[in-house]
């Protein structure tokens, strides 16, 4: 739910990183926090278990600068990937202006990717949104692993429309900022075109 504060001259948008457990959602956010411009990003909040699995959400506010005199702020959230936390995933998704699905490229995680995609579409529908008409980016993470499924095959199985697809190795930062730029662009275009 975009929030425009005219008094503060700010545009605030919410972006959610979604995906199965251990696919790299938190890695994406952490990389943005660690390597982004310090002046333009805030504190990283991580609500996690003792074993660093996301328990509720990660949160990172980033600011990209001004456009037409309005500061553009993006609130990045990740959801917990484990199915056990499905209720929390649904809560965090509410009000999202854009979503990134982080897919785990490993062959043995294909079922988890598909389950997540299905859950994403269903949860968005419950919130009155439609994945096919929403700002959405597909990130294929862990491209460096030996069991990674070829990208064309992953795209065939996971792509739902003409969404941008970004290949990534989030642990090394590859594709992380490309993904962020892609989803932000889609969110801003969607807002402009309303």
């Amino acid at each position: 739910m975009t929030f425009i504060n005219q008094a503060a001259r700010e545009i605030n948008c919410k972006i959610v990183y979604y995906g199965p457990g251990l696919c790299g959602k938190t890695t994406n956010i952490s990389y943005i926090h660690d390597h982004g411009d310090h002046a333009l990003r805030g504190r990283l909040i991580s609500l996690a278990t003792e074993t660093d699995r996301t328990l509720f959400f990660d949160f990172l506010p980033v600011e990209l600068g001004a456009i037409r005199g309005f500061r553009t702020r993006f609130h990045l959230y990740t959801v917990p990937g484990q199915i056990f936390y499905e209720a929390s995933r649904k809560l965090i998704l509410k009000g999202a202006d854009g979503v990134v699905l982080v897919a785990d490229s490993q062959e043995e995680r294909m079922d988890a990717n598909l389950e997540c995609l299905s859950s994403l579409a269903a949860n968005l529908e419950e919130h009155g949104a439609d994945l096919h008409r929403s700002p959405y980016v597909l990130q294929l993470n862990k491209r460096d692993l030996p069991s990674a499924v070829p990208a064309p095959e992953l795209i065939r199985l996971l792509r739902v429309k003409d969404e941008p697809v970004v290949e990534a190795v989030a642990s090394r930062g590859m594709g992380v900022f490309d993904t962020l730029r892609a989803i932000i662009k889609l969110v801003l275009l969607d807002l402009r075109n309303r």
């Binding site: 504060n5 909040i45 949160f59 037409r68 309005f70 809560l91 965090i92 202006d97 968005l124 807002l191």
Partner: protein
């Protein structure tokens, strides 16, 4: 994807800020913070130095969302008031008009009872302002966005420049 954008005009902010300033004085609290349900700050009063408003808002929103989930598990619609007691400072969190989260940080200079009393009295003042904001956003969406000047007529090149 999202609900319709919410636009907070300058006059809305001024009205809300006046209410929050008075609430701060009447409760003797340290901070009064009003956020939308996504945790984004609408207005605040008091000393927020040393406190990150983005973190405060997002955690409060997460807290409220999780608590709402708990309430529904036991057959309640929601818990409209949350109180967190610290050793020195405390937090009183309440929902206003379903769309907003009112968070009050206070210490031993005041009491929970007084905070709750003043919050109950101020909610009917905040509700019409928040209702107006929401109704305006539903009714005018695109025109409203254009009227604020935000993103009006921006080009693809401008967006690309922002992302460079």
């Amino acid at each position: 994807m999202s609900d319709r954008p919410i636009v907070l005009l300058r006059e809305d902010h001024a009205r809300i800020a006046t209410i929050l300033d008075r609430l701060l004085a009447e409760t003797g609290a340290k901070v009064v913070f009003l956020a939308n349900r996504n945790g984004e700050q609408i207005a605040a009063a008091g000393n927020l130095s040393g406190m990150d408003p983005a973190s405060l808002g997002s955690l409060a929103a997460g807290n409220v969302a999780a608590t709402r989930g708990l309430a529904r598990l036991i057959g309640e619609q929601e818990f409209s008031v949350l109180f967190h007691e610290g050793t020195r400072d405390h937090l009183h969190i309440s929902l206003v008009c379903e769309d907003a989260i009112l968070l009050i940080q206070f210490d031993a200079r005041t009491t929970l009872g007084l905070v709750r009393l003043r919050v109950r009295r101020v909610s009917p003042e905040l509700e019409p302002v928040l209702e107006e904001i929401r109704a305006r956003s539903v009714a005018l969406e695109g025109a409203l966005l254009r009227s604020t000047g935000a993103l009006a007529g921006i080009t693809d090149d401008e967006i690309d420049a922002l992302l460079a």
